[in-house]
C-alpha cells in the first residue's frame, strides 16, 4: 500500500516537475507570476483530447504538435502584448495574467463546453506487476516522457546559445541588451518554451485525468507550490519540487484526511516563503 503510493507519487511527480519548470522559468527570467500557466496546461490537454477524439492520434504522439502550437501562441502573446508591460510592476503583470486566465478558461468553455472530457486509451489497463506493486504502462510512459522533457530542457538552457542568452537576460537585462541580445525576443522565446512545457504536461495528464475548463486554477496552485519548494532558477529544484509534491499528495492521502490536504499545502507554501524564500534548492539563475 505504502510502496504503491510512493511509486504512484513519483510517477506523477515527474509531470508536476514539467509544470513547475515552465512556471518558474517565466518567474525567474521575467519576474512574471504567470497565473495563466494552468490555462496553457488545460489547452494542451484539450488539444490532445481533440486530436484523439477527432483523428485518433495517440496522446503520446500528439505531444510535439501540442508543444508547437502552445509555443506559437505564447510567443505571439509575449511578443506583441506582454512585452509592453513586462517591465512593469507586480500588480500589472499578475493582474494581466489573471485576465488572460479568465479569458482562456471562458474561450475553452465556449469551444469544448463545461462537460468533463477524458481519453480512454485501448492500452490503459496494461501494466507490469512486481509482487504487490503495479506499474501501469500509461503512467510509466508519462513518467518517461516527462523525464525526457526535463532532460531536454536542461540541455537547452545549459548548452544552446539561446539558453545561455535566456540566462544572461535573467541575470542582467541591461547588460544582455548591451552585448547585443534581442532581449524582448528572448522573453518571447522564454514564454513560448514555458507554455510548450505546460502544453506537454497537459497532453500527458489527458489520459489519466478528466479535463474541464476550470482545470487551470487548481493547477496553478500546484505550480506555485512546486516553484516555491524547488526555488526559482533551478531545473533540478523544480524536478525535486515536483516529486515532493507528487509524493506528498499520494502518500499524504494514507495519513491525512483529504479535506486537510489543501490546507497543509498552502501552509507549507507560506512557511517556505517566510523562512526560505529562495526555495529548497534555489539559485540566482537558471541551470
Amino acid at each position: 500500500m505504502l510502496l504503491q503510493a510512493v511509486i504512484n507519487g513519483l510517477l506523477f511527480g515527474a509531470v508536476y516537475s514539467t509544470i513547475g519548470i515552465g512556471f518558474s522559468l517565466v518567474w525567474g527570467v521575467m519576474n512574471i507570476i504567470n497565473v495563466a500557466h494552468g490555462s496553457f496546461i488545460m489547452i494542451g490537454a484539450y488539444l490532445s483530447f481533440t486530436l484523439y477524439a477527432a483523428y485518433g492520434v495517440d496522446p503520446f504522439l500528439s505531444i510535439p504538435i501540442v508543444m508547437a502550437v502552445l509555443f506559437g501562441v505564447a510567443y505571439v502573446i509575449q511578443k506583441f502584448v506582454l512585452n509592453r508591460v513586462v517591465r512593469g510592476s507586480v500588480f500589472i503583470t499578475l493582474t494581466f495574467t489573471f485576465g488572460l486566465q479568465i479569458l482562456i478558461a471562458n474561450v475553452c468553455l465556449l469551444i469544448w463546453s463545461a462537460d468533463y472530457r477524458s481519453i480512454k486509451l485501448p492500452y490503459s489497463s496494461a501494466g507490469i506487476q512486481i509482487g504487490q506493486v503495479v506499474l501501469p504502462a500509461v503512467r510509466l510512459g508519462i513518467f518517461a516522457v516527462a523525464l525526457v522533457l526535463t532532460g531536454l530542457f536542461y540541455l537547452f538552457i545549459r548548452r544552446t546559445k539561446t539558453g545561455v542568452a535566456i540566462n544572461a537576460t535573467a541575470l542582467n537585462f541591461e547588460g544582455a541588451k548591451t552585448v547585443g541580445i534581442d532581449v524582448f525576443n528572448i522573453y518571447a522565446i522564454t514564454f513560448g518554451v514555458s507554455a510548450a512545457l505546460a502544453g506537454a504536461a497537459g497532453a500527458l495528464i489527458a489520459p489519466i485525468m478528466s479535463i474541464n475548463p476550470f482545470l487551470g486554477g487548481p493547477l496553478v496552485g500546484k505550480a506555485f507550490v512546486i516553484a516555491i519548494l524547488g526555488g526559482l532558477g533551478s531545473t533540478i529544484g523544480a524536478l525535486v519540487g515536483g516529486m515532493v509534491l507528487g509524493l506528498v499528495e499520494t502518500v499524504g492521502t494514507l495519513f491525512i484526511p483529504s479535506s486537510y490536504q489543501e490546507l497543509l499545502g498552502f501552509s507549507v507554501l507560506v512557511l517556505v516563503l517566510v523562512f526560505r524564500p529562495q526555495g529548497l534548492l534555489g539559485k540566482r539563475f537558471y541551470e
Binding site: M30, N31, F91, I92, L94, G99, S267, L273
Partner: protein
C-alpha cells in the same frame, strides 16, 4: 478647488436621494458598487500608497464575514457587536500576518498573502462545528420590507465609503500617509531617514484590513448567507486591482471612480452577453493593464499610475532592477 466641492455636494445629494427614486435592482447595484469602492480604497492603502501587492486581502473580508455570521447565528449577538468583533479580528490578523509576511517583497509578498488567504479558507471549511464548513452559514436577516432592507444597506455602505474616503484623503496629506509613500518610493531610503518601516507597513495593512473586515461583516448581514469559496474568492481582489488601475493608484478618488466604471461596464456586458460575460471581463482586465496603467484620474489631476509608481522603485542601473532573480530575495 471650489468647483470640486460643489461637484461632491451635488453627488452627495444625488446619492442620498437615489434609494427613494430608483428601483430595488438599481439600489442593490449601487450598493454593490459602493462595496467594491470601499474594498478597492482599502486595498489602495496597502497597495497604492505603500506599494505592497496584497493579493490575499480577501482573508480579512472572509474573516470579517465569518466572524459576524458565527456570532449572530451561533451566539445570537446583535449585528453592531458582531461588526465590532469582525473589525477587531481583522486588525489582529493583519498584525500577525504582517509580522510574518511584510518582510517579503514583490511577488513573494503577493504569493504569501495569497497562500494565507487560501489556508484560511480551508481552516474555515474544516472548522465544521463552528462555521458549518463548506455548506456555508446563514445569518439571521434583518426584519422589515425589502425596501427597508435595500435602503438600510445602501446607507451603511454609503457611510463606509464616505468614511474611507475621509481616511484616505487624510492619508494623502498627513505624516502617516507620507511615510507610506516614502516606503513605496524607496524602502531603504525611508529607513535611513528614520521611518520605522515595519511599524508603518503594519499600520497600513491594519487600516486596509479594518475596512475590508468591516465590509465583510456588512456583506454577511446583507446577503444573510455566506460560504468559504465566495468570501475568500481571489477574483474579488483581482477586480479590486483592476478598479485601482482604472481609477489611479495612490489617489483618493481613483478607486471610487474605478469601481463605478468597472461596475457599469460589467453590468452592460452582463445584460447583453451573458455567456461571454467572464471572458469579456478577462479581456477588459488585459486591456486596462495595457492601455490605462495611469488611471482615469490622471487625466484630471496629476495622480500617478501604478506603473510609474513602481518603476520608480526599480531603476535600471541598481541591482534591484534586474527583473527576476536579482530582486527576488525576500530577505537580503
Amino acid at each position: 478647488m471650489k468647483a470640486k466641492w460643489i461637484v461632491l455636494a451635488v453627488l452627495f445629494v444625488l446619492f442620498v436621494a437615489a434609494p427613494f427614486l430608483l428601483t430595488g435592482f438599481w439600489v442593490r447595484l449601487i450598493t454593490f458598487t459602493f462595496m467594491f469602492a470601499v474594498l478597492a480604497s482599502a486595498l489602495n492603502i496597502i497597495a497604492g500608497f505603500t506599494g505592497y501587492a496584497a493579493f490575499g486581502n480577501m482573508v480579512f473580508f472572509g474573516l470579517g464575514a465569518y466572524t459576524t455570521a458565527v456570532l449572530m447565528n451561533k451566539v445570537g449577538l446583535p449585528f453592531p457587536v458582531a461588526l465590532a468583533a469582525s473589525a477587531g479580528i481583522a486588525v489582529v490578523m493583519s498584525i500577525l500576518l504582517g509580522l510574518l509576511l511584510l518582510r517579503l517583497k514583490g511577488h513573494y509578498f503577493a504569493l504569501g498573502t495569497l497562500g494565507a488567504a487560501e489556508a484560511m479558507k480551508y481552516i474555515v471549511e474544516n472548522m465544521t462545528s463552528v462555521t458549518n464548513g463548506g455548506r456555508g452559514i446563514t445569518v439571521p436577516s434583518m426584519r422589515g420590507s425589502p425596501f427597508m432592507h435595500n435602503t438600510i444597506f445602501y446607507f451603511i455602505m454609503f457611510g463606509l465609503l464616505i468614511l474611507i474616503i475621509v481616511v484616505v484623503w487624510q492619508l494623502s496629506r498627513n505624516r502617516l500617509g507620507y511615510a507610506f509613500k516614502a516606503i513605496r518610493a524607496n524602502e531603504e531610503a525611508a529607513g535611513v531617514l528614520g521611518i520605522d518601516q515595519t511599524r508603518y507597513k503594519i499600520t497600513a495593512w491594519a487600516l486596509s484590513a479594518l475596512f475590508t473586515g468591516i465590509t465583510g461583516a456588512v456583506y454577511a448581514y446583507w446577503f444573510s448567507y455566506i460560504d468559504p469559496p465566495t468570501v475568500f474568492d481571489v477574483m474579488w481582489v483581482v477586480k479590486m486591482f483592476v478598479i485601482i488601475l482604472i481609477g489611479g493608484a495612490g489617489t483618493v478618488f481613483g478607486p471610487v471612480i474605478g469601481a463605478f466604471i468597472l461596475e457599469t461596464i460589467s453590468e452592460l456586458v452582463w445584460s447583453r452577453f451573458i455567456n461571454l460575460h467572464l471572458g469579456i471581463l478577462g479581456l477588459i482586465i488585459m486591456l486596462v493593464v495595457l492601455f490605462m496603467p495611469r488611471g482615469i484620474i490622471s487625466v484630471v489631476t496629476q495622480g500617478k499610475g501604478l506603473r510609474d509608481l513602481l518603476q520608480g522603485r526599480r531603476r535600471p542601473s541598481s541591482p534591484a532592477a534586474g527583473p527576476p532573480s536579482s530582486s527576488n530575495g525576500g530577505q537580503s
